[in-house]
Symmetry: C2
Subunit: 298 residues, 2 copies
C-alpha cells in the first residue's frame, strides 16, 4: 500500500497508473501535476487524482513519484523536484527509452540517483489525455524495470509491486538491453511506417495510390498515426541502437533487391517463408500466454 | 443473370464470388473446378457450387468463367480451355498482378484473347479454402477491371456487372497502371514486412526480441503472415514496378538514416509529421466513403 503517490502527467499513461492503483486499493492519496491545467482539473473531476499539485514541492512526503511526461523533460523535472525529495521517496518513470533517461537522472540527481528507478510499461491506446485513462490498461501487459547499479533492491521491488497492482507482469532488463530490444521491435517499425507513408504521399499520383490502399496497408501503417514529436524524441534518444537496426534492415533490403532483380524466386521465398514461420510461432506463443490456465478455465 | 458460371479455384476468392452471385440471384448454375478434389467436393457440400467439373470441357456452354487460381497458372489453364471455349463465353480472373496475366492470356488465347477480361477484386480474409468463402466478401470493396485493347465494351461491362452483383464497386485501370499502384500500396509493404520479421528472426537474440514485441509490431507485420509462395509469385510477376518502388523507398531510408545520424530532429519530424497528416486524411476519406449517405441515415 502506498500512502501518497505523485504523478507528473495525468494523461493516458499516468492516469491509467493512478486508476489501476486505486482499483487495486493500493494507494491512499494521488496527487496529479500536469503542464496543462485543464488536464489536471479534468483528472480531478474524473476521480483519477485526489488533488491537483501546484509544483514540485508536492513530492515532499510522497512514497512514490511517477514521471509520465515526454522523455525529453525527465532531467528538467527531476532537477526541479530534487530540493523537495525526502529520503524515503522513490521516483520512477514510464519513458520509451532508458539509457538517455538514466543519464538524465544521473545528471539531475547526482548522489541521490539511487532513488530513481527507471521503467517502461509496454501498453498504449490510440487515444490520449485523462479521458483515455482506464484502470486495466496494464492488465496482462509487460512492465520493464531497468534498474541502475545505484538502486537498492527493495526500491526496485517496490516499483515492480506498484505495476503488479495495476495488473502488469514485471520484466527486468538493463537500460542498454531495453533500448536495443525496443529499437528492433518498436522504434524501427515506426520509422519504417512513417517512411512509407511519406514516400507515397510525396508522389505525384499520391491520391490515386491512397485510393487503392486496403486493409493490409492500413494495418502496416497504423503506427504512422502516432505523435511525430514523440517519435522524433524517441528516435534521437535511442539514436545509436536505432541506427544499428536501420542499417541491418537496409542490408536486408539490399539483399532482397538483388534477389528480385535477378528473378531469384527461391531466394525471395526463403525470406518470406522464414518470416511467415517466425511470425506464426510468435503469435502462437502470445496466444498460449494469453489463454487462461487450464485449472481456471472450468 | 448468368445461366452458367464456371469457377476455377473454389477457395476464398472463387467461392465468395459464387456465393455472392447466388445471394444476388444472379446465376442459375455454378460449376466448380479445383486442383484439390477435396476442395471441390467441399464446395459442393457447402452449396457454393452446384456441380463439380471434371475438366476444361466444362466451360463449353458457360456465360462466364472465373480463374481464381494462382497467377502463375493462368496461361496453362487458358490454353487448356481454349479448345472448348464457345464464342459467347467471357473469361475473367482475380489475380493480384495484371500485366503478366495479360501477356499470358495473349500467348495462350491468340486471336481469341478478346474473350479474356482481366480483373482484380481488392478483398481478402486471413483464412482460406471453401470454408472461408462468404457471400459478402466483396460488399463495398473495389473490383478493378483492367481491360485489354482487344476487349469488347459489352464484355467488360458484363464482367463488371457480375462483381457489382457481389456488392463490389467497379474501378477501371490499365494493367500497367494497376501494377504500378499495387506495387506501391500492397506489394512493397508485403516485402517490407517479410524483410523485418526475417531480419529479427535471424538475430541471435531473436527470442528476446519477439518477447517484447507488442501490438504495434503485430499490426505492422500482419501481412507477413501471408502465403510465401503467393507473394514470391506476385513479386516476380510485378518485378519491374516493385523494384522501382523498393528503390524509391531505400532512397527515403537513406535520407532518414542521414538525418538520424546527424541528430536532425526537425528533419525527422518533417517526415513523421507529413506521414501522420497524410495517413489521417486517408483514414478520414475512407471513413467518409464508408459512412451511410445522409438520406438513408434517417
Amino acid at each position: 500500500m502506498f500512502n501518497k503517490v505523485v504523478i507528473f502527467g495525468v494523461g493516458l499513461i499516468g492516469g491509467s497508473f493512478a486508476r489501476g492503483l486505486k482499483q487495486a486499493g493500493a494507494v491512499r492519496h494521488v496527487v496529479g501535476i500536469d503542464r496543462s491545467a485543464g488536464s489536471a482539473e479534468r483528472a480531478l473531476e474524473l476521480g483519477i487524482v485526489d488533488e491537483v499539485g501546484t509544483g514540485p514541492e508536492a513530492v515532499a512526503d510522497a512514497d512514490l513519484v511517477l514521471l509520465a511526461t515526454p522523455v525529453a523533460q525527465t532531467g528538467h523535472i527531476l532537477a526541479s523536484l530534487l530540493p523537495h525529495l525526502g529520503p524515503q521517496t522513490i521516483v520512477t518513470d514510464a519513458g520509451s527509452t532508458k539509457t538517455d533517461v538514466a543519464a538524465a537522472a544521473r545528471a539531475a540527481l547526482g548522489d541521490r540517483v539511487a532513488q530513481f528507478v527507471p521503467g517502461h510499461p509496454i501498453a498504449g491506446r490510440e487515444t490520449n489525455g485523462p479521458d483515455a485513462a482506464i484502470a486495466d490498461l496494464y492488465q496482462g501487459k509487460k512492465f520493464v524495470v531497468t534498474p541502475l547499479a545505484e538502486n537498492r533492491a527493495d526500491d526496485v521491488e517496490r516499483v515492480g509491486r506498484a505495476w503488479q497492482a495495476c495488473g502488469a507482469l514485471v520484466h527486468r532488463l538493463t537500460p542498454e538491453e531495453h533500448d536495443k530490444v525496443f529499437a528492433a521491435v518498436s522504434h524501427l517499425p515506426h520509422l519504417l511506417a512513417y517512411a512509407l507513408v511519406d514516400d507515397i504521399a510525396n508522389k505525384p499520383h499520391a491520391d490515386m495510390l491512397f485510393q487503392y490502399a486496403a486493409s493490409g496497408f492500413r494495418d502496416f501503417t497504423r503506427i504512422a498515426g502516432s505523435s511525430p514529436e514523440m517519435w522524433r524524441d524517441i528516435s534521437l534518444a535511442n539514436q545509436s541502437a536505432l541506427l544499428a537496426e536501420l542499417e541491418a534492415y537496409m542490408t536486408q533490403l539490399t539483399t532482397l533487391r538483388a534477389r528480385l532483380a535477378a528473378g531469384d524466386g527461391a531466394g525471395l521465398e526463403a525470406v518470406y517463408g522464414n518470416a511467415q514461420r517466425a511470425r506464426r510461432q510468435w503469435i502462437e506463443a502470445i496466444e498460449a500466454a494469453e489463454a487462461p490456465p487450464p485449472d481456471t478455465a472450468e
